[in-house]
């Protein structure tokens, strides 16, 4: 069984987002980490590998800057077998559409039975790349997985998929793409020895440039991105709000309900 897990390096927003004195986001001050949903996806893959280690290969794939090698090594230190870094200047500035077609372009040149991605990345929060990859590869997708089980003889995957007020147990034929929630599991830690092994053999991570990808030029990078940013701004930290002293509880309640309605909470 060949499992490919797509992971992304993101700035750590937990423990507070850091701002520069001028109020803009200070990305440099935030640690670059493996996206949490992706890590849960990797853990799910490693658990499938634990069931039959000799017959399961887990490959982690990321697209990004050369320094994204760090999270691939982290994945190896957790127990993945191989890593693939897709990096090329011409791939920069991609939106979700171009990102997914690029990663699909790499996957077309790889072997896979099951692809796992995180539901969404904590920097973009779009939850699009996983389902879009599956479309580009013309394989089924099951998003928001809470449990993943594979049947190696039938070559199927069964997934518990959460909706708002219900869950579905779904079975799909492999190859299939599953997107994982960070609630799926508690990812394992690396081991110290695993870390040293991950770096000992540089070739455990392959690096692919644009020429290794099966994708048309018009579908990559900024040029291949249908969406364009018109304006980006950092949210201004809010100042002091308003304080009222209502004459009666009813007045207080009207005030609160008014605000909640205004903000579409109720």
């Amino acid at each position: 069984m060949k499992i490919v897990v797509c992971i992304k390096q993101v700035p750590d927003t937990k423990g507070g987002v850091k701002f520069k004195p001028d109020g803009t986001l200070d990305r440099g001050a935030m640690l670059a980490i493996m996206n949490p949903d992706d890590k849960a996806g990797l853990e799910a893959a490693l658990r499938i590998k634990d069931e039959d280690p000799d017959n399961t290969e887990v490959t982690v794939v990321t697209m990004g800057l050369p320094k994204a090698d760090d999270i691939l090594r982290e994945a190896l230190a957790m127990g993945a077998d191989k890593g693939l870094l897709i990096t090329d200047r011409v791939l920069g500035g991609a939106d979700t559409w171009a990102t997914s077609s690029t990663i699909a372009g790499a996957l077309k040149n790889m072997e896979y039975d099951l692809i796992i991605t995180g539901r969404q990345a904590i920097d973009g929060d779009t939850a699009q790349v996983g389902p879009q990859i599956s479309e580009h590869l013309n394989i089924p997708v099951i998003s928001y997985a809470e449990e993943i089980k594979v049947d190696r003889s039938a070559m199927t995957v069964t997934v518990k998929r959460q909706f708002d007020d219900r869950y579905h147990m779904l079975t799909a034929k492999l190859p299939c793409l599953v997107t994982a929630l960070s609630e799926l599991n508690e990812p394992r830690y690396m081991t110290p020895g695993g870390i040293f092994d991950a770096y000992a053999d540089a070739d455990r991570v392959q690096v692919w440039g644009r020429d290794k990808l099966d994708v048309a030029d018009e579908n990559i990078g900024m040029a291949g991105s249908p969406t364009v940013i018109a304006k980006a701004s950092d949210k201004v930290p809010k100042g002091k709000g308003e304080v009222v002293t209502p004459g009666s509880p009813e007045e207080a309640v009207d005030y609160i309900v008014g605000k909640l309605t205004e903000k579409h909470v109720i």
Binding site: R73, P192, I195, F196, Y199
Partner: protein, 386 residues
Amino acid sequence: MDFSLSKEHILARNLFKEFAEKEVKPLAIEVDEKHEFPRETVTKMQKYGFMGIPIPKEYGGQGCDPLTYAMCVEELAKVCGTTAVIVSAHTSLCCDPIMTYGTEDQKQKYLVPLTKGEKLGAFGLTEPGAGTDAQGVQTKAVLSDDEKEWILNGSKCFITNGKEADVYIIIAYTDIVEDKKGRKQKKFSAFIVEKGTPGFTFGTKENKMGICGSSTYELIFQDCHIPAENLLGTRGKGFAIAMHTLDGGRIGIAAQALGIAEGALDRTIEYVKERKQFGRSIGAFQNTQFQLANMATQVEAARLLVYQAADAKATKSYYGVEAAKAKLFAAETAMDVTTKCVQLFGGYGYIREYEVERMMRDAKITEIYEGTSEVQRMVISGALLK
């Protein structure tokens, strides 16, 4: 000179930091208050290979260097001094001597389960009448007539991991010889003793000022028979084994002291930014700023000494002076920094929940165990005046 860490070390540090924050920190207050050995944490650390970091893979370890091990102890100590010393005593004082002096059979039988996390280790040298002065050791081992067993009698005190360990390295005297001047000198040997051996029992549990969750016990040996093959290293060389083992142990304790100082300083930096007095944060006062500057500089200096000592252990056959300097400076830094941190916290600093007072209590032991600061000065000056 290259002071930057390798990518491996940076990632390893991230691992230890994350583990410490998620698994160790939430329990630190309770471990201290209840004087409870953090067994669950130890089990988790065993699972992830933290109990055999600098031991080669062929003996079940992680095959990493002493620096990685020191960083592990450091990160654990930032959030919990108890957890840090459990790893340190196990690794430096039990795994390391077996690795260095053990026979292949001893390594397979004892070291592999220790590094794989199936067993926990401890080390016993100190006795009620023998601390810094090893000649005061009363524990005695006698070879049986058939030379198949050693019979151990005596007691050891203040033993870290005392009742929780499974494998103990015990120093006892096996011979008495006369030196050139005709004075009687004890000759020591080291032994591997398993928990459960008849005649091996536990005495008093020590109620301590700090590192309250660590299991500190008296070990009692009454006609305790141990197999002859459990002699570790050469008969009569036990003192050298003990001293060499402590050289390594001091790096672990230095790393623990460093971590305690860093942990207290980190919390204090956060606190002074938030705490307001006279309408501004206390970090805006110059007294606070200068104190922080001094402490950060001390911590950095301690870190360089600790990492240098760890590096020396990897590259040199004798690293006792580097280890002594690292432990001396890191321990005194830990005590000084934690005391000042409590002061900067003011009233809150004296309250358990804010944890710096625990760090202050934990810091004190680093100036005492595995050789007091005075012993470290003896080691350092001894080398200078040689």
